[in-house]
């Protein structure tokens, strides 16, 4: 087990292995997303309150879910990198941040588009989830800005790892405080379509989309880590061999 982990943490081995793994993420992920899109848009019954407008859930929920998953992944791998000094896990953290920021952005945009017909406004400060998602986006920006400001890669890895961990401790507090704050907010109460549990024709496409998004996220992440590793190890012999080998093929 440990031997396997040690081997995995070595960049050349990871580079070879990830090339083989990526298709296993891309193919099922794409199939699931295609199924989820078709089933979600055409076969799921319209919501009894929201009509067809609820269908944006098939993008919104997976994006919001991944925005949090990516931060968790980033913080955990940054912590692993900081404690056990594994360079590869710093590369994972660095690669996860922009992806997480994009998913957060996507969740905000789709949430805002969803809010327009439902709440009659593009932005509702009273909704705690929108606000804490926005703060999440700022946390990602801070992380990436700190990383970009430090030229030395090792130093950037460690400094941004500390920031990611501090942020991870704070995220539950931020979510809680934003919720408390908005429950005190007077004014428009938001109509929630909590209603009865989802029928399966609605639920299955959503689960498929969540899983599909996660798989595609995994593939994108692996791809980004691969290029990150190539860049970081650009002076090493194995990268030279990789480049030479690809030159012979092409």
């Amino acid at each position: 087990m440990w031997k396997f982990l040690h081997k995995l943490a070595s960049p050349p081995h990871f580079y070879d292995l990830s090339a083989k793994i990526i298709p296993w993420f891309v193919v099922p992920g794409t199939i699931l997303i295609i199924y989820g899109t078709i089933a979600g848009l055409f076969y799921a019954p319209p919501d009894y309150q929201q009509g067809d407008a609820f269908r944006i859930i098939y993008v919104h929920v997976p994006a919001a879910y991944l925005s949090m998953l990516a931060y968790t992944l980033m913080a955990v791998s940054a912590g692993i990198g900081l404690i056990w000094r594994i360079k590869l896990s710093h590369a994972v953290a660095a690669a996860a941040a922009p992806l997480g920021a994009w998913f957060t952005f996507l969740a905000l945009i789709t949430g805002s588009i969803w809010g327009r017909p439902m709440w009659g406004t593009w932005w509702e400060w009273g909704d705690p989830r929108l606000t804490s998602e926005l703060i999440m986006l700022f946390l990602y920006f801070g992380y990436m800005a700190l990383r970009a400001a430090i030229d030395d890669t090792t130093k950037a890895d460690k400094a941004s790892a500390v920031l990611a961990l501090v942020g991870a401790v704070n995220i539950p507090i931020i979510h809680f405080s934003v919720e408390w704050w908005s429950s005190l907010h007077q004014g428009a109460t938001i109509v929630r379509a909590d209603g009865p549990a989802m029928p399966t024709e609605m639920l299955f496409p959503l689960l498929a989309m969540i899983l599909g998004f996660s798989l595609v996220f995994g593939a994108l992440l692996l791809g980004r880590v691969r290029s990150e590793v190539l860049f970081r190890e650009r002076r090493s012999r194995w990268v030279k061999n990789v480049v030479l080998a690809s030159g012979e093929q092409g």
């Binding site: 703060i135 946390l139 800005a145 700190l146 400094a159 500390v162 942020g167 704070n170 507090i173 931020i174």
Partner: protein, 232 residues
């Protein structure tokens, strides 16, 4: 044989020495203390000028304005927390000293709060009076500001330690710290607003004090780790 331990100053002496030194430095450069205070007063002046002088509006938005201004003023003073130490090499001495670095970092944070946070708390009633805040609200505001500025000093010290020695440090520091400071802002400003509406305020004060203690427990370690990384 006198061992190294006998001649070494203890934990408490080291902690106090850092505080005394930083307070003395602040005292010799009064601008460092006064400028954030002037900034605080000026931001509080900007809002009535921008929003309008009607007293109802000011009494509603007053708590929020005071809190945002306090947050920004704290950020302004945080930038220089470790900067001069980094430039003249004192930071190396702090890191090399036999006392644990988290303790010394806490000492620096305490000195920062005494020279930047405490004056803000003391000046805030002046601003509050111009926003027509009643007496009880002013008391609550000072209490929340006390806990809030301590938390902000502790959180900000992490950010200052991470960005010390970077060229674009100032803007970066705000970007790092402001999202983390939002719980403090939310609870601080809302509690004062609740006090102004004659509502129960204990929940907000409990939260702020709990947050303050959590930051007091964890932040010095993060600051120390960040200082070691920045000073490599």
């Amino acid at each position: 044989m006198t061992s190294r331990e006998d001649t070494m100053p203890g934990l408490w002496q080291g902690f106090m020495a850092v505080i005394r030194r930083d307070l003395l430095l602040a005292w010799k450069r009064p601008g460092d203390i006064l400028n954030p205070l002037f900034f605080f007063a000026m931001v509080c002046t900007l809002f009535p000028l921008a929003v309008g002088p009607s007293s109802e509006q000011l009494s509603i938005s007053g708590p929020g304005i005071v809190w945002v201004a306090a947050l920004l003023a704290t950020l302004l003073s945080l930038n220089s927390l470790f900067l001069s130490d980094f430039e003249d090499g004192s930071l190396d001495q702090l890191i090399l000293s036999p006392q644990p670095l988290p303790l010394l970092a806490l000492g620096k944070t305490v000195a920062h709060w005494l020279s930047a946070g405490l004056p803000l708390v003391l000046v805030s009633p002046l601003v509050a009076v111009t926003f027509q805040m009643p007496g009880r609200t002013v008391g609550v505001m000072m209490l929340t500001l006390t806990f809030g500025t301590i938390s902000l000093s502790l959180l900000g010290a992490i950010g200052a330690a991470l960005t010390v020695g970077l060229h674009r440090g100032t803007a970066l520091l705000s970007l790092l710290i402001l999202p983390l400071a939002m719980p403090v802002l939310i609870f601080g400003a809302r509690t004062v607003a609740l006090a102004a509406a004659n509502d129960a305020v204990s929940a907000g004060i409990y939260f702020l004090s709990a947050y303050c203690i959590l930051a007091l427990t964890l932040a010095p370690f993060a600051t120390a780790a960040a200082l070691k990384i920045s000073n490599e």
